[in-house]
C-alpha cells in the first residue's frame, strides 16, 4: 500500500512539485497582494487541470482490438496487429501503446507511438515477434498511455484483451520408427484418425475434425446433416506406444532446459506416431498423480505438450506402477527422464508386464549455467552405472546434443 503510494508519488514528481509551487505562489500572492501572481497561479493551476483532463480524454472513446494467429511453432515469427479505433470526433494525440509479447525471449514490453488518430478513424499497429519458447501464453493487458499535449498527469489505461497464444514445441523430425509390439486395441474416442486402407470394417460416421483430410468425408451424410461428416473404420492393431515425460525437474534457462529437451523429444516421437498411425499415449506428472493423453491428433498432441510445466512431484515406485497400468501388455514405453532419482529396481512392474522400456536420460546437471553450482558428484553418472548394471537400454542426452541424432540413435538401441 505504502509502496504503491510512494511509487505513484515518484511517477508524478513534476506534477506534485507544480502543485506545491501553485500553493506557494498563492501564499506569496496573498501575502504580497500581487495581482499578477494570482493570474500566474491561476494559469499554472489551469495547466495542471488541463493536463489532467486532457490526458484522460485522450484515452476515452478508444476501442482496441488485437488480432493474431493464436498458435505458432517455437522459433516461428508471429505477426500481431493492434487496431485502435477512435470513437470520438476529436483527434487523439501522441498515444504510447505498450505491448508485451508474452512469448518473447526477454519478456520486455515494446512501446509504439501513435502520432494521432483522427476522429472516427482507426489506426493499425503491427509487429512481428519470434515465439521463443513453447508454452501456453496469454497476452497481458495492452496499456495505452497518453499525456498530450503538455505531458502532465499522463494517464495509462490497461485494455484487457483476452488472447491466448499457444506455442507448440518444435521437435526434430524423425523418419523411421522401428517398433516390435503387436498388441491389439480398439479405436479410442480421442483418436481423430481412421485408418483407411488397412481395415475395411466400417465403424460409423462422426463429425469432421479440423486437420483431417477430405478423403474420408461422407458426402451423403454431410449433405443430409448440413455439416461435414467423416467415415470411421475399425482398425486392426498395428503398434502401441507410451511416452512418459518426466517433468519433475527442469534445469536450465530459456529454451535450453532439460524439460524443454524432453518435451521436444516427446513432440518428435508423437508426431512420428501420428504420421505412422500408431496408437500412443502421452503421460506426464501432475500433483500427486499422472496425467494421460491417449491417442491424440497432431495439433491436440502439440497443444498438450505446449502446456507441460515443471511439477514438484517426483517419480516414485507408485508412479512407475501407474505407468505399468497404463501401458498394455508387450507394448513399448519411452521414458524421457529429467530427474536422476530413479531406481532401476522400480521398473520391475513394467518388466513383469513385458513392456519394452526405452530410457532417454536428459542430464539436467549439464543444463546448469556456467555460474551455477554443480553438485559434488554427477548424479547422472551414478544413474548410468546402475542402468548399465541392470542391462537396460538407455541414452544420455546432454545440453547442446543434437536431439534428432540422439533420438534416432536411442530408438535404434
Amino acid at each position: 500500500m505504502l509502496n504503491s503510494i510512494f511509487s505513484s508519488f515518484k511517477r508524478r514528481t513534476d506534477e506534485i512539485v507544480l502543485l506545491g509551487i501553485a500553493f506557494f505562489l498563492f501564499i506569496v500572492a496573498t501575502n504580497t497582494q500581487t495581482g499578477w501572481l494570482f493570474l500566474v497561479d491561476a494559469i499554472l493551476v489551469g495547466t495542471l487541470l488541463l493536463g489532467f483532463i486532457s490526458s484522460r480524454l485522450q484515452i476515452r472513446g478508444l476501442k482496441i482490438e488485437r488480432t493474431f494467429k493464436n498458435w505458432a511453432y517455437e522459433g516461428e515469427k508471429l505477426k500481431v496487429e493492434i487496431l485502435l479505433q477512435n470513437l470520438h470526433r476529436w483527434q487523439k494525440h501522441l498515444l504510447a501503446v505498450e505491448e508485451k509479447f508474452p512469448a518473447s525471449e526477454k519478456g520486455e514490453s515494446k512501446t509504439f507511438l501513435v502520432e494521432k488518430i483522427e476522429g472516427s478513424k482507426t489506426r493499425t499497429i503491427s509487429y512481428e515477434e519470434e515465439c521463443f519458447k513453447r508454452g501456453i501464453y496469454s497476452f497481458p493487458p495492452l496499456k495505452i498511455e497518453a499525456g498530450a499535449p503538455l505531458g502532465f498527469f499522463s494517464f495509462g489505461k490497461p485494455f484487457k484483451k483476452n488472447g491466448e497464444l499457444i506455442i507448440f514445441p518444435s521437435g526434430p523430425s524423425i523418419e523411421n520408427f522401428p517398433v516390435r509390439s503387436t498388441s491389439l486395441y480398439t479405436t479410442s474416442q480421442n483418436r481423430p484418425y481412421s485408418t483407411p486402407g488397412q481395415s475395411h470394417d466400417f465403424l460409423g460416421i462422426r463429425d469432421y475434425q479440423p486437420g483431417e483430410g477430405t478423403r474420408y468425408i461422407h458426402w451423403k451424410a454431410t449433405a443430409k446433416l448440413g455439416k461435414l461428416m467423416v467415415k470411421e473404420f475399425k482398425k486392426l492393431s498395428s503398434q502401441e506406444l507410451t511416452i512418459f515425460i518426466d517433468n519433475s525437474l527442469d534445469i536450465g534457462r530459456g529454451r535450453e532446459t532439460s524439460l524443454e529437451y524432453a518435451v521436444k523429444a516427446a513432440a518428435s516421437l508423437s508426431n512420428l506416431s501420428v504420421r505412422q498411425n500408431n496408437y500412443f499415449k502421452l503421460i506426464t506428472l501432475d500433483t500427486d498423480k499422472i496425467v494421460t493423453l491417449a491417442n491424440p491428433g497432431h495439433l491436440h498432441c502439440l497443444e498438450w505438450l505446449a502446456g507441460i510445466t515443471a511439477s514438484r512431484t517426483k517419480i516414485t515406485p507408485e508412479t512407475i506402477a501407474s505407468l505399468a497400468r497404463e501401458a498394455n501388455y508387450k507394448t513399448r514405453l519411452i521414458l524421457l527422464l529429467c530427474n536422476p532419482e530413479l531406481d532401476p529396481a522400480w521398473l520391475q512392474p513394467l518388466h513383469e508386464k513385458r513392456v519394452f522400456v526405452k530410457l532417454f536420460v536428459f542430464d539436467s546437471d549439464s543444463f546448469k549455467e556456467a555460474g551455477e553450482q554443480a553438485p559434488a558428484a554427477n548424479r547422472f553418472d551414478y544413474l548410468e552405472e546402475r542402468l548399465k548394471k541392470e542391462n537396460l537400454a538407455f541414452l544420455r542426452i546432454k545440453k547442446g546434443d543434437n536431439l534428432r541424432k540422439a533420438l534416432v540413435e536411442g530408438l535404434s538401441l
Binding site: 505562489l25 498563492f26 506569496v28 500572492a29 496573498t30 501575502n31 504580497t32 497582494q33 500581487t34 495581482g35 499578477w36 501572481l37 494570482f38 493570474l39 500566474v40 497561479d41 491561476a42 494559469i43 493551476v45 489551469g46 495547466t47 487541470l49 488541463l50 486532457s54 472513446g61 470513437l87 470520438h88 470526433r89 476529436w90 494525440h93 501522441l94 504510447a96 512501446t111 509504439f112 507511438l113 502520432e115 494521432k116 476522429g119 472516427s120 499525456g147 498530450a148 499535449p149 503538455l150 505531458g151 502532465f152 499522463s154
Partner: protein, 762 residues
C-alpha cells in the same frame, strides 16, 4: 582508493542523460526563456544587463546545442565559478537593502539563467530552463505594476505551451525509440486549441481564486536607503506649487497636475479640475483614505496649520516606530509605489506606527501628519503599518457616551473659530438638537450635509471677504469636498466638539489584475476628523456619495476575485447599465441573508444539522422504497423504464456529442438524386416549380409539354431508376446525368437571356 574514485567517475558517466537532439524543443525553450528574461528586464532600467543577458542566453543555447554530446567539464567548471561570483554579488546587493530582495533576486536569476544556458545537453536541463523562465515570470509579475506585463505573460504562455508539447513529444519518442515526423501545422493547431482551452480554464480558476487579507509576513518593501547629511526642517514642500511657503494665505495658481490641498494653506476659493495622472500605486490590506495634511486653523477663507513645529524620529534600520497618542485596534498595512513627483508628505492611514521609509529620519507634526526630509520622487517605495480605531458604528456610539478623557491633551486649538455668523451656529444646533452625545451629533451633521447639499465642481468663486462656510451653507448651497469638510469642521467647533480638516487621497480604484489601488490626481480628497473622548479622532466624510465613516469597520469584502473584477469593471461601465444589475444582485443577497438570519435566530445550529441528516436519511429510504415498489408493480414498469431512460440520457447526450454523426449517403445512386434536385432548382428560376403533390413523372410531363425539353424527361427517368431500382448504378450513369444537366443548364441560360432581351425591348 584510486579504484573507488575511478568507479565513482564511471558511475557518474553512466548517469549522464542522453543528449536532446530536438531543435524545435530547444527553440521553444529558448523563446520561453527569452520571454521570461525580457519580462523581468522590462520592469527595471538595466540597459547593459539586458544586452548581456539576452545575447548570452542565445549564445548559450547555441553552444549547448553544438556541444550536446560532449562532456564539457571545462565549461561546467567555468560556469560554477561564475555562478559563485553571481551569488556573492547577490549577497552584497541583498545586504544593501535587505527589505526588498526582489531586485537582487531577479538580478541573480537573470545571471543564473544566462550561465545555465551554456550547459543544456539533455532534456532535463532544458526543463530546468523552463522552470527558471517560470520563476523569472513570477519575479517580473511581483515587480510589475502595469498592465503591460499581461502581454509578456500571454506570449510566455504560448511559448511555454510549445516547449511543453515538444518536451512531451521528445520524452515519448525516447520511450518508444522512434522519431515522429509531426507537421508544424498540426502542432500549431494543437497548441492554439490548447491555449484557448487553457485560457478558459485558467480564467475560471482566476475568477474563483480567493483573495484574503495579506501583508502578514514582514518585513515590508522599501526603496534603497538614502543617506542624507542635511535632513532639513520637515516643512511641507510641494514641487507643483513652488511659491507656497510656510504660512502663505494668498491665493495660488491652480495646477491641475497636483492637489492644492497638499500645501501648508488650503484655499477654499480655489477652482479647477485635477487630471487623471496616476500618482501613487498602493497595495493595501484595506481601501482606506490616505492622510496627507491635517489643518487645525480656520481663517474664514481657508485652512492652515496652527503650529509649524515638527518633531523628528529616527531609526538606523527600518522600521521607524512612532508612539501612538490614542489606542488603535485594527492593523492596516500599506505599500506605496510613488508614480509621480509628489510633495514631501508621507501618506498613510491614520494612525501610522511603523514606517519602512528610505530615510533614517522622518518628521511629524502635532496632528501626526508625516513629512519626509526629501520630496517623494517617482519610483520611491515605502510601507506603513497603521493602527486605526475604526470601530463599528454601535461601539463608537457606546464609548462616546462615557465621558472620560485622555490626560494632558490640549484640544483648544481644535475649537478655534473666526467670527462666525449666528445662522451657522443655529443650523448646527438645529441639526443636533435631538441628539444627546457628540458622536450622534457629528453623524447628524455629516448626514445632513451629505443629503442636503449637492456635489459640484463647477461653482463660481466665492465673493471677496465672505465667510466661506456661511456662503456655502446658505447662498451657494453646492460645492466640492473641501467645502463640505470645512462646513462640517466649523459646525462641529460651533457645537464645542473638537474637529480638524484633513486633505489627502481616497484609496482610488482597485485593479484586481495588478493588485494595486491606483490613485490618480483626481482622487484627491478632503474630510474631517472629530475628537471623541475615550475613542480619539474619528474620520467623517460629509461629501455626498462617500461613506460617512470612511474608516469604520465594515463587513469583510468578498474574497473572490470575480467580485473584485466586477467592482473594477463597474468603474469602467456607465452607471445606467450597472445600477439595475447591482440593485437586483443586492436584493438577492439581502433576501438570502434574511433567510439565513431567520434560521440563525432559531439558535438551532446543532439541531438543524441533526434534523437535516435525519431528513436526508428518511428521504433516501422513502425514495428507495418507492423505487422498489414501482419496479415490482405492473404500472410501475413504465415509470421504471422512464427512470432508466433518464439514467441513460446523459450517456445518450454525450454519445450524441461525442460520437461521429452519420454521414450523408454517397455513391452514384445518391449523386443522381442530387443532380435531379439541382435540375428542380434551376427550373424554379424560370418559373417551373414542382408541387409536393406531383410525382416526378407528372412534373416531367407538365414541364416537357410546356418547354419541349426532352432532357427533363431523361433526368427524371434516371432519377426514378436511381431512387427505386435495386440493381447497381454505375459511375457512367452519373456522368451521363451530369452531361444532360449541363445541356439543360445552357438551354435555361439562353431562355433567360431571351426573356430579358424581350423585356428590354418592351
Amino acid at each position: 582508493m584510486s579504484n573507488k574514485i575511478i568507479e565513482a567517475f564511471a558511475r557518474l558517466r553512466k548517469k549522464r542523460l542522453s543528449p536532446e537532439h530536438s531543435i524545435p524543443l530547444r527553440i521553444a525553450t529558448l523563446l520561453t526563456v527569452l520571454c521570461g528574461i525580457t519580462a523581468t528586464l522590462s520592469q527595471e532600467e538595466w540597459p547593459y544587463l539586458s544586452i548581456w543577458v539576452i545575447a548570452g542566453t542565445i549564445a548559450g543555447f547555441f553552444v549547448s546545442w553544438i556541444r550536446r554530446e560532449k562532456n564539457n567539464w571545462w565549461i561546467k567548471l567555468i560556469l560554477a565559478i561564475l555562478m559563485c561570483w553571481a551569488f556573492v554579488d547577490f549577497m552584497s546587493n541583498l545586504l544593501q537593502n535587505i527589505y526588498d530582495p526582489r531586485i537582487p533576486l531577479s538580478y541573480l536569476l537573470l545571471w543564473l539563467q544566462t550561465l545555465h544556458s551554456f550547459d543544456l545537453p539533455a532534456r532535463r536541463d532544458l526543463n530546468y530552463s523552463l522552470w527558471t523562465a517560470f520563476i523569472l515570470m513570477c519575479v517580473a509579475g511581483s515587480l510589475s505594476s502595469s498592465m503591460a506585463y499581461g502581454a509578456f505573460f500571454f506570449v510566455f504562455v504560448f511559448c511555454s505551451l510549445f516547449a511543453l508539447f515538444y518536451n512531451y513529444l521528445s520524452s515519448v519518442e525516447e520511450k518508444a525509440k522512434v522519431t515522429l515526423n509531426v507537421s508544424w501545422r498540426s502542432i500549431t493547431s494543437t497548441i492554439l486549441k490548447t491555449a484557448a482551452i487553457l485560457l478558459f480554464i485558467g480564467g475560471i480558476v482566476y475568477l474563483f481564486i480567493p483573495r484574503f487579507h495579506g501583508l502578514k509576513i514582514r518585513p515590508l518593501p522599501v526603496s534603497l536607503q538614502i543617506r542624507l547629511f542635511n535632513m532639513g526642517e520637515g516643512q511641507i514642500k510641494n514641487p507643483a506649487y513652488p511659491s507656497s511657503g510656510q504660512s502663505i494665505t494668498k491665493t495660488l495658481d491652480f495646477n491641475s497636475d497636483a492637489y492644492h490641498g497638499l500645501n501648508p494653506y488650503l484655499d477654499l476659493n480655489m477652482r479647477g479640475t485635477l487630471n487623471r495622472t496616476v500618482v501613487i500605486k498602493m497595495r493595501s490590506t484595506e481601501p482606506v483614505y490616505l492622510r496627507g495634511v491635517v489643518f487645525d486653523y480656520y481663517n474664514g477663507a481657508g485652512w492652515q496649520l496652527s503650529n509649524f513645529q515638527v518633531k523628528s524620529v529616527s531609526s538606523a534600520n527600518p522600521p521607524i516606530s512612532l508612539n501612538l497618542p490614542y489606542p488603535g485596534i485594527h492593523e492596516v498595512v500599506q505599500i506605496f509605489f510613488v508614480e509621480h513627483e509628489m510633495p514631501n508628505i508621507i501618506f498613510a492611514a491614520y494612525q501610522p506606527y511603523q514606517l519602512y521609509f528610505p530615510t533614517t529620519t522622518i518628521f511629524y507634526d502635532q496632528n501626526l501628519g508625516l513629512r519626509s526630509p526629501i520630496p517623494l520622487e517617482k519610483g520611491t517605495i515605502y510601507s506603513v503599518v497603521s493602527l486605526t480605531s475604526n470601530l463599528p458604528d454601535e461601539k463608537i456610539r457606546k464609548i462616546a457616551r462615557k465621558k472620560f478623557s485622555f490626560p494632558n491633551i490640549d484640544l483648544s486649538q481644535y475649537l478655534q473659530l473666526p467670527p462666525i455668523s449666528e445662522k451657522v451656529k443655529k443650523l448646527a444646533g438645529d441639526i443636533t438638537k435631538n441628539y444627546d452625545n457628540d458622536y450622534t451629533k457629528a453623524m447628524a451633521v455629516c448626514l445632513y450635509l451629505q443629503n442636503r447639499y449637492p456635489y459640484d465642481l463647477d461653482i463660481p468663486p466665492f465673493p471677496e471677504n465672505v465667510e466661506t462656510t456661511e456662503y456655502f451653507l446658505f447662498v451657494q448651497k453646492r460645492g466640492y469636498c473641501e467645502h463640505f469638510a470645512s462646513a462640517m469642521a466649523v459646525m462641529m467647533r460651533t457645537l464645542g466638539i473638537p474637529s480638524r480638516m484633513v486633505t489627502g487621497f481616497t484609496s482610488g480604484v482597485y485593479n484586481p489584475i495588478t493588485g494595486f489601488y491606483e490613485i490618480r490626481n483626481y482622487d484627491a480628497h478632503a474630510w474631517v476628523e472629530v475628537f471623541f473622548s475615550g475613542v480619539g479622532w474619528i474620520s467623517f466624510d460629509p461629501t455626498p456619495g462617500w461613506d460617512a465613516l470612511p474608516l469604520a469597520e465594515r463587513e469583510e469584502k468578498s474574497p473572490w476575485m470575480i467580485s473584485a473584477l466586477i467592482n473594477y469593471l463597474k468603474e469602467k461601465i456607465p452607471p445606467e447599465i450597472t445600477e439595475p444589475l447591482t440593485r437586483s444582485w443586492q436584493a438577492f443577497i439581502k433576501a438570502l441573508k434574511t433567510f439565513i438570519a431567520r434560521f440563525e435566530r432559531l439558535n438551532l445550529k446543532g439541531k438543524i444539522l441533526a434534523l437535516f441528516a435525519v431528513f436526508l436519511t428518511v428521504f433516501a429510504i422513502a425514495l428507495f422504497t418507492i423505487y422498489i415498489f414501482l419496479r415490482t408493480k405492473k404500472y410501475g414498469l413504465r415509470i421504471a423504464k422512464f427512470i432508466r431512460k433518464l439514467q441513460n440520457l446523459p450517456l445518450k447526450l454525450s454519445n450524441g456529442f461525442l460520437k461521429p454523426q452519420e454521414k450523408a449517403p454517397s455513391g452514384p445512386r445518391f449523386l443522381i438524386w442530387q443532380i435531379y434536385y439541382k435540375m428542380l432548382k434551376v427550373l424554379v428560376s424560370i418559373g417551373f416549380n414542382k408541387l409536393p403533390s406531383q410525382t416526378p413523372k407528372e412534373f416531367a410531363l407538365e414541364s416537357v409539354s410546356n418547354l419541349g425539353w426532352e432532357e427533363i424527361n431523361m433526368l427524371t427517368q434516371q432519377f426514378e431508376e436511381a431512387r427505386y431500382s435495386r440493381h447497381e448504378i454505375d459511375e457512367e450513369k452519373v456522368k451521363e446525368s451530369r452531361e444532360i444537366l449541363k445541356t439543360l443548364d445552357e438551354k435555361i441560360k439562353l431562355r433567360k437571356r431571351a426573356t430579358s432581351f424581350e423585356a428590354t425591348l418592351l
